[in-house]
Amino acid sequence: MSAVRTARRIAAARIGTAGAIAVLAAACGSTSASDGSHGTTAPAPSLPLATAIAGPGQPGWAIVPMGGSSKDFENFWELFARPAGSPTWKLATPPGVASNGGLVMAASGPGLVTGFRGSQDLTFSPLAAIASPAATWSQGSALVSPGLASVPDALASGPHGAMIALTSTGQVQLAAPGTATLTRLTTERELARTAAGRACGLTALTAVGFAAGGTPLLAGTCTRGGSAGLFAWEQGGAVAAGLPGQAGPTSVIGLETAGGRTTALLQSGSGKAATVLAAWSASGLADWTSSPAVSTGAGNLRSQEMWTNGGAALVLTGNKGEAISGPGGSWQSLPALPAHTVTLALGPAGQLQALAPAGASLSVWQLAAGDGGWSRIQQIQVTVPYGSSS
């Protein structure tokens, strides 16, 4: 483990669902941000979109691809919700937009903001917000244009309805607290030209988020060893957030802030030597604590999950899984995951749950305490809208 001190301290702040919904439901007249930087953006890289977010005692949310079709547009990404205190999940995909381009979500207190990635001829990303699994979706005027990047943390919500988004063209857009419009903040190429960007050799943006105090965070891939591409956007510019990197190129593949703590997942190395580690800062990015690295191998990551308690999990190919409980913990190899598992979630009491879709059916498996193995606790049949986008 290591700890790093930075010069900045960012005050913690509460992330409010109401604010996010207020943004989405804002009056007509809000417009999408236009990309005014032709020639200065680059496509964001792609990471597995399946993921889950939850915390003990909190609702759970999970994004899962379903359909099993060989045609991309016949596979629909579904959102499942688990009410706080309940072990069972229910289908909660927002209505009104085809989800065959992928879904991205951002926790917003007990609620959620969801963005639809563009697909087929749809090039921008509609948004929807919900206050809790029991509430109804709200769609207002906010949207992300160009569409959201194909990374699980392309969207994040912050205090008082602030929102930040990473687009497929490498542009970062921000809706400041109290505003209803996502406007262009910067781009990957602009960021790469800053002192902080040059210092890390930034080549791509991979995640966006907020620090506990509401400072926008931009994360990416650094080619210079020893640097991790996490930047805080302060006073109109990017500064390195002090996250330590590994030897060789390092990518931030996950970013989560909850309960005053920011968690980042870092991937480094290549081929069989590729590893992932988790890093936490509970001090407004001033100090970071890192976990040991777990060997994953390149190209084996099927999904990554980050929970509000600081825990995280990885689903790897070959029905393998790794989990870490939080700061001070170490990666634990999980018993062989049930077939088709695409994401790992937390049950109401913090038990691990595996969500495994097969065609139009989702199986929920739960890991018994003490390595008792996985047992299926629920099966959900989904009416996949085959043919609706053809």
Binding site: M66, P95, G96
Partner: protein, 620 residues
């Protein structure tokens, strides 16, 4: 390949019926033309002095046997190809089922060239399909009927020219730029042999008076066969292996795919048996093929009749085997367009042999009689007192009467070629697709005449727009979901294209879309859709929205269903377009499901929409 097809079923009943109708009409026209020509020819000959009509038309030029073989042989093949082009599925299916698969393995530049032609065809499938039929039947009849001399040579040139068009655009250069090239599979393309034969027929008679041309034809063919033998023997191309680890080699794989197409059972049985044999003895089979090709090539290159004769006999047997067991007769299954390369290659070889062995006898007919069309009118046919202008029709009539029956039929066949080529060229000059494609997808427009339901909604700029506020304008109206992923963007582009087609008349037309999504219906979303579809700058484009009750009222008035689908599906809504006249009367309803959204269907719907608008503009 983009734009390569209309996206419609090859057997779409509307297109098939239209194709048949076009063929029938053009066929009747061709028959009527033949009847008129025949009557005129007989009549003119009756009026002419018997001596002049016997002396002129009845003396044919001595034609080399090789030319006669090539002319009649390829004439028959062209007619056969023309009849294959008349298959009902050909109009809609040729680009997607014949051209695109042929070009799929070729380099990008080949695909670009071929795609241009395929797109042109798919824009006008009826005209193009019928044209191909009549051009090929016309060329075939022309070749068969043409008397020796100018008529035959001209037919040869036309045959070579059209063969080149077919070879480039229909056969993607015979696949010579694609991997897997093999004479067994038809390389270098049947149509290339049509070109060669046409060029040979077009040569002047003096070229055939010595054995040199025949030797060159055979030597060229021999060189080609040796090259094909080397290619066949080249390692790593999959021909030496019958089957490896359960994977069929190149030949067994091709034969297997041919055996799977629709054909007589006995033939499929032969192919399957040969496939099994090749799978088990791939090396031996290829060794025999390589040896036969090399030996044939060497024999033809030798120029020695004692080698060439047995080589031609062996070649005939080998070619027949390849034609049946590998090429599956060339035209069975799917949309066959020709009997493949073995028959035309055999004709060229036979022509070369005849040219070497059977030289034409020295001409005994006066040169002036060799080409009837060039014979000057007999002086007594024209009245002495007539002016030159008056004499011209008489001279023409005299020449026509003296023409042989074959020349008359050849002339008719040439006109048939023009009957086919004319509409095709006219269609190519048009940058828009035939509206029949849209009708094939959604049926015909329904004429209506009733007062359109009023509405008051908000446009993409926040301004209030009502039906009354658009009084005096023809309204093209549809219902779109701003977050739709498939149909709505296509329909929007069809409206945009219709606006372009209207030209100056667009100033009197308003393009109106009304939101068809009960969830995502804010102005921000209509604006985002406009930006996505590049409609923001279109001055007569309105994307209207409003409160859910206001929208639901409009949907109800215009019979639009907007249903929320579960689990990640987009909104299901009706794809309909209305044409409303300047007095607020609904005049036309168009089913506007855009179908596959290919370039040709988009263009076709735009034409249908702009035509409907013009009709209302014209009637107003």
């Amino acid at each position: 390949m983009p734009g390569m097809n209309s996206g419609l079923s090859n057997t779409n009943p509307v297109l098939v019926a239209a194709f048949r109708s076009a063929l029938l009409h053009q066929g009747l026209l061709a028959a009527a033309l033949l009847a008129v020509l025949s009557i005129a020819w007989v009549s003119v000959r009756e009026w002419m002095p018997s001596a002049s009509r016997a002396g002129a038309g009845g003396q044919p030029t001595a034609e080399p046997a090789a030319v006669r073989l090539l002319r009649i042989g390829f004439g028959v093949v062209w007619i056969f190809d023309g009849l294959l082009q008349a298959q009902p599925a050909m109009a809609a299916g040729l680009p997607s089922s014949v051209i695109a698969p042929t070009a799929a393995a070729s380099p990008h530049w080949v695909q670009t060239v071929v795609n241009w032609a395929g797109t042109s065809w798919s824009y006008h499938p009826i005209e193009a399909g019928a044209a191909a039929v009549w051009i090929q039947i016309g060329i075939g009849a022309w070749l068969i009927a043409a008397p020796a001399g100018r008529w035959a040579r001209l037919a040869g040139l036309v045959s070579a020219g059209w063969g080149l068009v077919v070879w480039i655009f229909g056969e993607a250069f015979g696949g010579i730029f694609a991997p897997g090239l093999s004479i067994l599979f038809g390389a270098p393309g049947a149509a290339l042999f049509y070109c060669v034969a046409g060029a040979l027929i077009a040569l002047p008679e003096r070229a055939w008076t010595t054995p040199t041309l025949g030797r060159r034809i055979l030597a060229g063919t021999g060189l080609f066969l040796v090259g094909m033998a080397v290619l066949q023997a080249w390692p790593g191309r999959g021909f030496w292996q019958g089957s490896t680890h359960g994977t069929a080699g190149s030949l067994a794989s091709m034969v297997g795919s041919m055996a799977g197409v629709s054909q007589p059972r006995w033939l499929a049985g032969w192919l399957t048996a040969f496939q099994s044999f090749d799978a088990g003895h791939g090396f031996s089979v290829n060794l025999v093929i390589v040896i036969v090709l090399a030996a044939l090539g060497a024999a033809l290159l030798s120029g020695q009749p004692r080698f060439i004769r047995p080589a031609l006999a062996v070649g005939a047997v080998f070619g027949l085997a390849v034609w049946i067991l590998v090429q599956d007769l060339g035209f069975l299954g799917g949309l066959g367009t020709d009997p493949n390369s073995v028959i035309p290659l055999g004709l060229v070889c036979a022509g070369g042999y005849l040219a070497m062995q059977r030289l034409p006898a020295p001409a005994t007919v006066p040169a002036a009689l060799a080409e009837p069309a060039a014979v000057p009118a007999e002086p007594e046919a024209a009245p002495e007192a007539a002016s030159p202008a008056q004499r011209r029709p008489a001279r023409l009539a005299g020449a026509f009467g003296r023409a042989s029956l074959r020349a008359v039929v050849a002339g008719w066949a040439a006109v048939i070629v023009l009957i086919g080529a004319g509409p095709m060229l006219a269609a190519q000059a048009s940058s828009t697709a035939d509206p029949i494609i849209a009708q094939a997808i959604d049926g015909n427009a329904a004429p209506l005449d009733f007062a359109a339901a009023p509405f008051t909604l908000t446009d993409q700029n926040g301004a209030t727009v009502s039906l009354a506020s658009l009084h005096g304008k023809v309204i093209l109206m549809t219902f779109l979901d701003p977050v739709c992923t498939s149909d709505c963007p296509i329909i929007a582009q069809e409206f945009r294209a219709a606006d372009r087609l209207l030209g100056n008349q667009a100033a009197r037309v308003e393009l109106v879309a009304i939101v068809a999504n009960p969830v995502y219906r804010s102005v921000a979303y209509t604006r985002a859709f406009d930006a996505q579809e590049q409609l923001s700058g279109l001055p007569n484009w309105l994307f209207l929205t409003g409160s859910l009750p206001a929208l639901q009222k409009v949907w109800g008035s215009y019979a639009i269903a907007a249903q929320i689908l579960p689990a990640g599906g987009m909104i299901a809504h009706s794809d309909i377009a209305y044409v409303i006249d300047g007095n607020g009367h609904t005049r036309t309803e168009l089913d506007f499901d855009p179908g596959p959204g290919t370039a040709s269907t988009e263009s076709s719907f735009a034409v249908e929409l702009s035509d409907a608008a013009r009709r209302v503009l014209g009637s107003g």
